[in-house]
């Protein structure tokens, strides 16, 4: 049944997100077409407007994936639509897993669309050189390969955002257990869950630091001259901790959901 639930969750996201994807790519193409070598002042103004639209659409995609994931989760499990959701012959675990995978898929798709939009709108040899030089400056300073740096940065950002979304899910589950002020409690519990998750990660990094002096140095000094080894260790350990926290929180969400719901 998970595949069937996922089919409808993905359909919902496609319906709601595709407009932003199309607009982001559309404005990226317009920006590219207007960025011709010879152009008038008016074309320059239009290029800037179009470029602004690309950035706005990218911001929209990032915010909307997060918001739509939460809204879909709440509407499907706790609003009018939940009358259908909870009477379908599926387990609570399947309901949660479907939302989890849907969010994962759409964050990945959104990430790809953002990269494609940026590439179409702004790729040029000059821009590419500026970016690669900038990244090279950082990676040389940190004594690591460019591919390692980019991979770790992407993984960490992805995990951090995904963790935040899941904190929202747990917040909604806990908030809707209350008899009154469900929406307000959802936000409050989501925020508290996020703070707790971040604190746990920080605490575990500190514990790891007890065995790795280079990481412990980060807790002791106020300078930003990060030791290369410490950065590498920190990136890898943080990623692993995020993954562990995401899975633990997912288990907590499923456990809480399986205790039952109280739909208004």
């Amino acid at each position: 049944m998970l595949n069937k639930l996922l089919k409808y969750d993905l359909k919902y996201m496609i319906k709601n997100m595709s407009i932003f994807y199309i607009l982001a790519i559309f404005f990226a193409i317009v920006t590219r077409l207007l960025s011709l070598p010879e152009h008038s002042v008016m074309i320059k103004i239009l290029t800037n407007i179009s470029s602004g639209c690309v950035i706005a659409m990218i911001a929209n995609i990032i915010i909307n994936v997060m918001m739509r994931s939460w809204v879909r989760f709440r509407d499907s499990l706790y609003k009018d639509e939940s009358y259908l959701t909870h009477t379908l012959p599926v387990t609570k675990n399947e309901l949660y897993n479907s939302k989890f995978i849907q969010t994962l898929v759409f964050y990945f798709v959104s990430f790809i669309i953002i990269l494609i939009s940026l590439f179409i709108a702004y790729y040029s040899k000059d821009n590419w050189t500026i970016i690669t030089n900038y990244i090279r400056t950082i990676t040389i300073g940190l004594n690591m390969t460019t591919s390692f740096f980019i991979t770790m940065a992407i993984i960490l950002i992805f995990l951090e955002v995904f963790n935040a979304i899941q904190c929202g899910f747990l917040g909604i589950i806990l908030g809707y257990k209350m008899n009154n002020g469900k929406a307000g409690y959802s936000v409050l519990f989501g925020f508290i869950t996020y703070l707790i998750a971040q604190s746990i990660i920080l605490l575990l990094v500190f514990i790891y630091g007890l065995f790795d002096p280079t990481v412990m140095e980060l807790f002791k000094t106020a300078t930003i001259n990060i030791d290369v080894k410490a950065f590498k260790s920190l990136a890898i350990v943080s990623s692993l901790l995020y993954i562990a926290i995401i899975f633990i929180m997912s288990a907590v969400c499923k456990k809480e959901l399986s205790k039952g719901v109280n739909i208004e």
Partner: protein
């Protein structure tokens, strides 16, 4: 089926904020009955129905359907019509039919399409473009197009004009599987009285009467509606 009852509710309680909404509910319903769950507004009818459908969690007690606790197996055999419009209004009727076909093995797609056609409802129309009454008819058709063991209809006549009420009742009568049972919750007793086999009166969260409808009428020498009015006179 063996001696197992279709629906068994044992010592069921439900509280919100320490306020008891349902108190020690014990109820048994066999196969092949049309049962009227009757009570005033706020008596606890919808709470009881939501508990049977896993939309609320009991404070204590047990609900069994065909001997199974509420879960995937019971949801396969219970067809539920809530008192509100609950389907995703962005969807077309045809898409909702697809959802029911995908999830309910006992959903009869052909029957649903035929019933919708009889009602002049366009399956390519979005729910959001339909009136509330039309949406309710779509929901009723979907629910009655399942070959379920237990149909639970919460206020099926609530938002329906008097002229359509007979149509709704006829749809219920002519489409439910005869080995199945139907629980109809309503406070519009006179409208459904003619189709009831059993009645359950609920008041202030307690079941105050469960009886065969004909026996009750003969004993009290009056209609169910009159008996109800006498019992719950303000």
């Amino acid at each position: 089926m063996n001696n197992m009852e279709l629906l068994e509710i044992k010592d069921l309680n439900k509280s919100f904020d320490n306020k008891k909404i349902l108190k020690d509910i014990n109820l048994t319903i066999s196969n092949g009955k049309i049962v009227g769950l009757l009570g005033k507004n706020g008596a606890g009818k919808t709470t009881l129905i939501k508990l049977i459908n896993d939309l609320l969690t009991p404070t204590s007690g047990e609900i069994l359907i065909n001997g199974n606790k509420i879960g995937v197996e019971t949801k396969k055999v219970v067809s539920y019509l809530p008192e509100r419009t609950y389907l995703n209004k962005q969807m077309k009727v045809s898409e909702i039919i697809e959802v029911f076909t995908d999830f309910y093995e006992n959903f009869d797609e052909k029957k649903a399409k035929k019933l919708l056609k009889d009602l002049d409802l366009d399956i390519n129309q979005q729910l959001t473009k339909m009136s509330k009454g039309m949406q309710e008819k779509v929901q009723l058709v979907l629910v009655m197009s399942r070959k379920a063991d237990l149909y639970i209809l919460d206020e099926p006549l609530g938002g329906v004009d008097p002229a359509t009420r007979d149509y709704v009742l006829d749809t219920i009568l002519s489409n439910f599987n005869e080995a199945a049972s139907v629980i109809i919750s309503t406070h519009l007793i006179s409208d459904i009285e003619r189709i009831l086999d059993e009645v359950v009166f609920i008041d202030k969260g307690k079941i105050v009467l469960q009886s065969d409808a004909d026996k009750l009428r003969n004993k009290e020498k009056s209609s169910i509606d009159e008996i109800f009015r006498r019992m719950f006179k303000c």
